[in-house]
Amino acid sequence: MRVSRQARAIRQLLLPAARALPWRAPAAGAGLGLLILAVARIVDSDPAPWLAAVLLRCAILADAVGLAFLMDDPARHTTATVPTRRALRTAVRLALITPVTALWWTAALLLVPSQARPPAGALTLEAAAACVLALAAGAAAVRLTDALAPGPSVAAAFLFTAVVAPLLLPDRWALFVAPGDARWEAAHQRWAGVLVGAVLLWGMCLPEPVRRRPGALRVRSPSGTSDPSRTW
């Protein structure tokens, strides 16, 4: 009974959610990713495998930065009290974006010349981990702050982590290894760990908090959205 009600809610939500989804940022990120790969292919049709891996990782980063904006919801305070839970509404968003991202990733892989393409499965794992991590960061920002659109701050934090991680990670936790490296296998086990951790974090941040504590985490974001929004 309850399941059928939820299914009906999802069916009814699908179209409005698709219209309300902040498509522009993910589209820009995905577009930039494809642009990087396409330009690289035109400039150098036979890249070295390490270069192909760097290009694909940059494309993943661009797409994930776009996805960091996906949890933005200017109506979140209005919809906080509706009977349809936020977890369900977020799941609908995810259901809408996942096929598009999968399609995008296939195109990205196909843009890399086959002789230089790193192992597709391993790179797909990296892409999945990065994208889910970006979504989880967005969900955490929504869960822990009052911000309506934490996207810019989430994107900045995600980008910062992505730039700093390769510099700071010690050798035994290396994630960004070149294809053919002896640590490739171990690094991808760690990537799987990142994916699992991101999924768990995302799951924990899905529900609407029961009540907002007066001292809820107030992160001073780069945009200065540190205080409760003044527009409502």
């Binding site: 522009r24 940022a25 820009a28 990120g29 930039l32 990087i36 390490w50 270069l51 760097v54 290009l55 940059c58 980063l61 661009a62 930065v65 776009g66 960091a68 904006f69 659109a149 996207g151 810019p152 701050s153 994107a155 900045a156 934090a157 980008l159 910062f160 992505a162 730039v163 700093v164 510099l167 700071l168 992160v219 001073r220 974001s221 780069p222 945009s223 200065g224 959205t225 003044r230 527009t231």
Partner: protein
Amino acid sequence: MTAVLDGAPVATRDAGRRSSWAAALALALFEARRLLLTLPVLLAFALYVGWIVWRTPDFQDGYPALQDADRAGQTTLLLVGMAVLVCVNQAVLRAKRRDTERHFAVLVLPRSWRTAAHALSLVPVVLLTAVCALAQFGWSALRSGAVGSGSPGELLVGPLTVLLFGALGVLLARLVASPIAAPLITVLLVLMLFVAGGFPAGDGERGLRWLAPVVTEASSQTLPAALLDRPAAWHALYLAGFALTLALLAVLAGGGRGWMLTAATAGAAALAVTGGVLQCAPVGADTKAARERASVSPEKDQTCVRHGSSTYCAFPEWTARTESWADVVHDVQSSAGGTARTQPLVVRQRIDARHGLTGDAALEPSMTPHQVTVGTAWGGNRVPEFSAAVAAVLVAGDEKAAGSLCDGRMVTVMWLALNRLPDPMTSLRDVRLDDSVSGSAIVLSPTNPMSMTAGQTDVVRELLGRPAGEIAPRVTAHWAELTTPKVTTARVAKLLGVAAPKAADRCE
């Protein structure tokens, strides 16, 4: 009713302009404080300062050459630059995000002035960067082992890069009013960094690669400052002009008008183009001649100093370091026997600067008798390497002969080189290419490497384990036989009173 004015109305135009300036300055100060306190900028600065504290004490093994120290922090500052880019961009877009643009529209500050204030808010961050870069350089410069001289141009590159990235962030916010633009531009910058850093410098030292904000070199060798010939001053001018152009373009895009603004933009662009073109010009003929001279006939540029019986010839910037070299030579000679004990040596500093910094070139061993080569770096592994070269020249006569030592004399060489060093076993590990203390290995020296067999390694390890007072008299007593060509390792071991290796000498 007709009102009569007592006096002519006072023109308020000047006052308005002055208050605009004051308001813009106040806004700039407020935004600067906010910018410095944003999380990414704070974290980036924390990482940068941490990196300085962690890396500077060990930079070039504690014996820094200031012509390298001045550009050591540039790459790390790119991180600060990216954080500033994203944060200043979001600060400019804040009014739109909070929907306060309409309120600002009725205030004293027009949009172009607010844009200018955001550009001005970069100044404190840039100054802080400059202070950090200066502190890092000063730390290196104050070390007792520091040599050479830094270049103000190179020191300016880091702060100007931060300014450039910040100006790009302001311009981007005025061109694309979307918060996704700055993060995506940063992704492109990261890609550029990785891809440009991965490619070798190519055939030329100059050319288009200088258009990148920070230009790194493939080689890690230290050259005299005059031979580097990096167009640092032109590059700083290019960065300053570029950053100014972007900032003024942002003001123009923010609705600024007027001939002064247009002229200033044109002037800044002209500066950027001048610096950009001049820095890409090929390396001058006089630099090439100077590099050739320093590589082929260094004696023409060098000054020679005597310490004890030996002569030490170094490029002028390194003369202060000759004393450290003399200490090592003294230690090695005082362990030797026969004429080697008093043999006057010539220690000559040599470099191969013919390719500039585009690649590391190995030095050819010298064929002049009793001449030892020393490089431009010192400290760390360079000390046992130099020590090994001195010992090898004392035993074999010259560096060319030392490179082909393949008999028991290698044991004498290694013992002479290492026994007086503070920690002989660590030095043995350091001086060998594979960092081992057993088996055969390549022994590094300033010129061609030497090789040790597994048997020789065992004997040397055994000798270094014994007290020096026990071995030294035997070395002095049997010096003639220990240094005879073709003497076997087994014979040397017997003379020095340690177990002989089973395997015969065979060099790979």
